[in-house]
């Protein structure tokens, strides 16, 4: 999804106006939007309001789901504005792309696109406040400075609070290109800031999508067609309708658009539990359709076969045949991974109220714009007539990009002519996903006598996200393998190929996306090659990066090497460990950030204990250190779940897993000690939500190899027998 990141060098547009009731409002348009709207209507993507009581509220169109955007961005505003941090809060803007610009939140891109514009807006607000104070005092603005929510007239030490100045500030001139602070002057950016919203969480007052209550609202539960492309064969709802409190049973046909329902039967009742109970009383038979034979065990075997034979060429450079012929060593290995489901703790939920010619939606979502488009199409109304209240998500990890659950609620609301809340049960959430691709990669690499990698054949086969938009795709398209030719390892002779892998279920973005399996394959084979060359992995990796002579990769190489060394140093890579223990290391560059992890394990028989994880991170300037650290800790937990345990299994076209007993995500008793180290970086800030997941699996399997001599090439390492 990196292509979605806009060029931050373009100009930001800022416009000031007065607030109703007095106060200053600044609208900020993102660079890309400014580009589109040059000379036309001003179109801000975020708003800063300064009220007469001194409160500052930032309205942000991006969607918070636990990743801390709602702290990092206000920190940037407050810092440049010289505002008091405790007076700044952030409010989630409603779904309105016209007002806020693209709101889809993913690809770890929020920080990238919004950081500079928000700083500029903060700096502009400060200058307008200073100008206002200078007017009041009839002095020159040069004699005034701003600090901690007040403007000070330096010679006389007179002060005026931001709140007092708000109204007058609103009519001052907008400074187009304010000077921004130097890094050394930052008060909030890069510091460990308390997250504003946490005090509401600990008393149970923060509400999520699933907590929405609307007067007159009905409650619904659903059971879905278990096989993609299947349809309803028969339905007997007599028993379900007989459950006290049941209002209606609604059949929802499959909607063949990427984010539409797979088809299901919903029960509407006067509370969620009655609806859930009645769904269980439905007697439903489904026709499986063309994917009725999907079986992930057989499919994975087929993917392996497809990458262990020639496939379709994607990219080539140098002379691979010659490199292989003259090789001193050759290593070849095949790595695989299974489907994953996002399983955020808050299952899919929304309230939809379809009215005459419009619809109102309350949803936990990563993309209100998609809701507007899908519902607009489905209901035959304009997207702008779909009003989306963006609710806080109880986790999302990519799942809440796709609004099939909202479209279903719309279908029900339309049918019963009332607002309805549809909450999926955990079972439906797990069985009706947009799964991370099952995957296989085969790498053959050659080395000379000094451990220089000379050739690299890389075949990958996985049902791609593109299949969601083009189900006829037989294999992952070339751009899904771009990572291979652009990888910062220095390899002169290379060929990449894409193996056959048609999709039999819906594939979707999952935190870190393809970087999960690319990171695993690259990190693993580097360790295998180092072993073969008789070198330690850190030295070997440095050499492999140093061999990259592509001038365009200079920055990537330097930053990769820096995180590698930092992780190695912090973990004490190479030190003597007790028998049965080992440290493994891996580096990965994704979403414009660089992360290396050193994982320290103890292996006793079948038991794998992860003791310590040292994460070295270069995500450019760190905006909120504590939040960034938390994101890494979370990435380790997710990395550990998917490396060790979690896998979605299909049999006869349908998902076999059903709840957390057979999709065993990591629990606290296995939590390692995670230490996060940031590279002091002047690069612009880049994302954190995703890149931390990528290096973990290989660092873990490399550590297991170091500890026990066993090499794991298939994830998860300990799949459940279900």
């Amino acid at each position: 999804m990196e292509h979605a990141i806009q060029n931050p060098a373009r100009r930001t547009f800022i416009k000031a106006s007065a607030l109703v009731g007095g106060g200053l409002a600044l609208g900020v348009s993102l660079p890309s939007m400014a580009h589109q709207h040059l000379g036309s209507d001003f179109n801000p993507s975020a708003f800063i309001h300064l009220y007469k009581n001194g409160d500052v509220v930032l309205f942000c169109g991006r969607c918070e789901m636990g990743q801390g955007i709602s702290t990092a961005l206000p920190a940037a505003v407050a810092d440049e504005m010289e505002a008091d941090w405790s007076r700044v809060t952030v409010k989630q803007g409603e779904g309105n792309a016209e007002k806020y610009g693209p709101q889809a939140t993913g690809g770890s891109a929020s920080i990238v696109t919004m950081y500079e514009p928000m700083r500029q807006a903060g700096a502009t607000a400060k200058l307008m406040l200073i100008a206002a104070a200078a007017k009041v005092w009839r002095v020159s603005a040069e004699e005034c400075e701003a600090s901690n929510h007040v403007v000070i007239h330096t010679p006389s030490q007179k002060t005026l609070g931001y709140g007092e100045l708000a109204e007058l500030a609103a009519v001052q001139e907008v400074v187009e290109a304010p000077t921004l602070k130097d890094k050394s002057q930052f008060k909030y950016i890069g510091k460990a800031l308390p997250r504003h919203d946490q005090s509401m969480v600990v008393v149970g007052e923060r509400t999520y999508g699933v907590d929405t209550k609307v007067p007159g609202m009905r409650y619904a539960a659903i059971v879905h067609c278990p096989v993609l492309g299947g349809k309803l064969k028969s339905l007997d709802d007599t028993d379900a309708r007989a459950v006290a409190g049941v209002i209606d049973v609604v059949t929802i046909p499959r909607l063949d658009v990427p984010f539409g329902s797979v088809g299901g039967v919903a029960v509407v009742a006067d509370n969620s539990w009655t609806a859930q109970k009645a769904v269980k009383a439905l007697v439903v038979e489904w026709e499986s359709g063309p994917n009725g034979n999907y079986d992930t065990k057989a499919y994975r075997a087929q993917l392996i076969a497809n990458v262990e034979k020639p496939a379709e060429k994607v990219a080539e450079r140098g002379d691979l045949t010659a490199a292989f012929e003259t090789a001193e060593h050759k290593v070849s290995a095949t790595y695989t991974g299974g489907h994953l489901c996002h399983a955020p703790m808050e299952p899919n939920a929304s309230v939809v109220w379809v009215k005459d010619g419009s619809a109102e939606v309350w949803a936990s979502t990563q993309s209100p714009e998609d809701i507007q488009n899908v519902l607009g199409d489905y209901l035959g109304i304009e997207p702008k007539d779909v009003y989306v209240h963006v609710m806080m998500s109880g986790g999302a990890f990519g799942r809440k990009f796709k609004c099939d659950y909202v479209q279903e609620a719309a279908a029900i609301s339309k049918h019963i002519n009332a607002p309805v809340q549809l909450i999926w049960t955990r079972e439906e959430d797990m069985r009706t996903g947009y799964y991370h691709s099952i995957n296989a990669q085969h790498i053959e690499a050659s080395m000379d006598a000094d451990g220089n990698v000379t050739g690299w054949l890389h075949r990958a086969a996985f049902p791609s996200i593109s299949s969601l938009f083009n189900p006829a795709l037989e294999r992952a398209p070339a751009n899904s393998l771009g990572e291979i030719e652009n990888h910062p390892f220095g390899i002169a002779n290379l060929r990449s190929e894409t193996g056959e892998a048609p999709a039999h279920t819906r594939i979707g973005w999952y935190r870190a996306v393809y970087a999960i399996f690319y990171g695993f394959a690259y990190g693993s084979i580097a360790d295998e090659l180092a072993h073969k060359a008789g070198m330690d992995t850190v030295t070997f990796l440095h050499k492999l990066y140093d061999n990259n002579k592509n001038p365009e990769h200079k920055e990537q190489v330097a930053r990769s090497k820096a995180v590698l060394q930092l992780a190695a140093d912090k973990a004490g890579f190479g030190r003597k460990l007790p028998p049965g223990e080992g440290i493994g290391i891996a580096v990965h560059h994704s979403f414009r950030s660089y992360v290396a992890m050193a994982v320290h394990v103890r292996v006793t028989g079948d038991k794998i204990e992860v003791l310590n994880v040292d994460c070295a991170v270069d995500c450019g300037q760190v905006l909120n250190k504590d939040g960034a650290t938390a994101q890494q800790e979370g990435a380790v937990v997710m990395g550990m779940s998917l490396s060790l345990y979690t896998e979605i299994v299909f049999k006869n076209g349908a998902v076999v897993n059903s709840n957390f007993h057979d999709y065993p995500v990591l629990r606290i008793n296995e939590m390692p000690n995670v230490r996060v180290h940031f590279v002091d970086s002047d690069y612009p800030p880049t994302g954190l939500g995703e890149p931390g997941v990528a290096p973990f699996p290989a660092a873990l399997t490399n550590a297991i190899f170091a500890a026990s001599g066993t090499r794991h090439r298939d994830l998860p390492i300990k799949p459940m027998a279900i």
Binding site: P194, V203, M345, G395
Partner: protein, 154 residues
């Protein structure tokens, strides 16, 4: 009609007897601080106290708690100042926050019974509470802190 006390207030049980306490709280009383995560006793998101003991409300029929006293996250403390809540803020535990009501309720009940927990005790007690955002490291630190705080209070 039988009744149940929730956060100090008495409510008549005017729903089907097999409705789980979770849904009585969420849909009948619209007390939504207690969360639905799995519905099967597997994740801990729905944890409340029944007569002081941490219990999964998603698998507890309302009829089984008639006459008993329930505390939810909204009623854990008067001003959000229970030592566990304070420790949670100090360590900035929540990410999305969705699992945290359950985590806090479980931790509070556990600490009431174990004044000097070891790391293993904490892990064993908190194993039933899943956090998909991965806040476990901070939960462990926060509970250890809260234990120290509680020890001082006595």
């Amino acid at each position: 009609m039988s009744s149940v006390t929730i956060n100090g207030k008495e409510y008549p049980i005017d729903v089907a007897p097999d409705m789980p306490l979770l849904w009585f709280l969420r849909d009948r009383l619209e007390l939504t601080g207690t969360k639905f995560g799995c519905g099967s006793g597997l994740c801990g998101a729905c944890t409340v106290h029944i007569d002081g003991t941490a219990t999964r409300s998603c698998v507890m029929p309302i009829s089984a708690v008639a006459g008993r006293s329930i505390t939810t996250i909204e009623g854990l403390s008067e001003n959000g100042d229970h030592p566990v809540q304070k420790a949670w803020l100090k360590h900035q535990v929540p990410q999305c926050g969705y699992c945290q009501a359950g985590q806090i309720m479980n931790a509070a009940s556990f600490l009431a019974n174990n004044k000097q927990p070891s790391e293993q005790d904490i892990e064993a007690a908190m194993q039933g509470n899943i956090c998909r955002c991965g806040t476990y490291q901070r939960i462990k630190l926060a509970i250890a802190d809260a234990a120290d705080e509680l020890a001082k209070e006595v």
